[in-house]
Subunit: 107 residues, 2 copies
């Protein structure tokens, strides 16, 4: 086994799980936090800042990017990564609407 049976669940539920997975690793949370805190843009700084290998950081950036949360563009050799704030707020809204609908009805 080991395969998540996504086909069992509704799109809405699967989406929430997919978005949550982006935040489910501390490196990715740290990356998002760092990107958001910097005045200018970042790139390889994340490697020295966070302390994981360049390959690993790049991999995490891909995961975050696949969720639509990043905008990256090359400026010469360096790539400037920054937050896609529209997408970020969209995801935040979806998660929050789930939170709001979830209440305590028993016990």
């Amino acid at each position: 086994m080991g395969v998540t049976k996504r086909f069992i669940f509704t799109d809405q539920i699967n989406d929430i799980a997919t978005f949550a997975k982006v935040f489910a690793h501390p490196a990715r949370v740290a990356i998002l936090k760092y990107i958001s805190e910097q005045e200018g843009c970042i790139c390889n700084d994340l490697v020295s800042e966070i302390g994981l290998s360049q390959a690993t950081i790049s991999q995490h950036l891909t995961v975050i990017g696949d969720a639509g949360l990043l905008q990256g563009r090359f400026e010469g050799k360096k790539k400037c990564y920054c937050l896609n704030i529209t997408r970020f707020e969209e995801i935040q809204m979806i998660l929050n609407s789930f939170f709001k609908k979830t209440t305590n009805n028993c016990c």
Copy 2:
């Protein structure tokens, strides 16, 4: 490898990742949603409702419970699970405060 290097990150960041991991599987999202929607309490209903084996559902319940999100008590043979709404709102606040602090500063 395969081990998340938690010791690299701050407690705050690790906490966010840990909480997010609870929501990072559709079965757990579905369980929380279902528990919240039911008038009374549930138990083995989740198995027939969601369509995963009893062992699997029980495992997911443990994960959700370990995050402090469930209150469960036996009523005879049946165990009534329900949401620990205080804890739920606490986690919601922690996640939201991260979201709020995250903004777009470049590009």
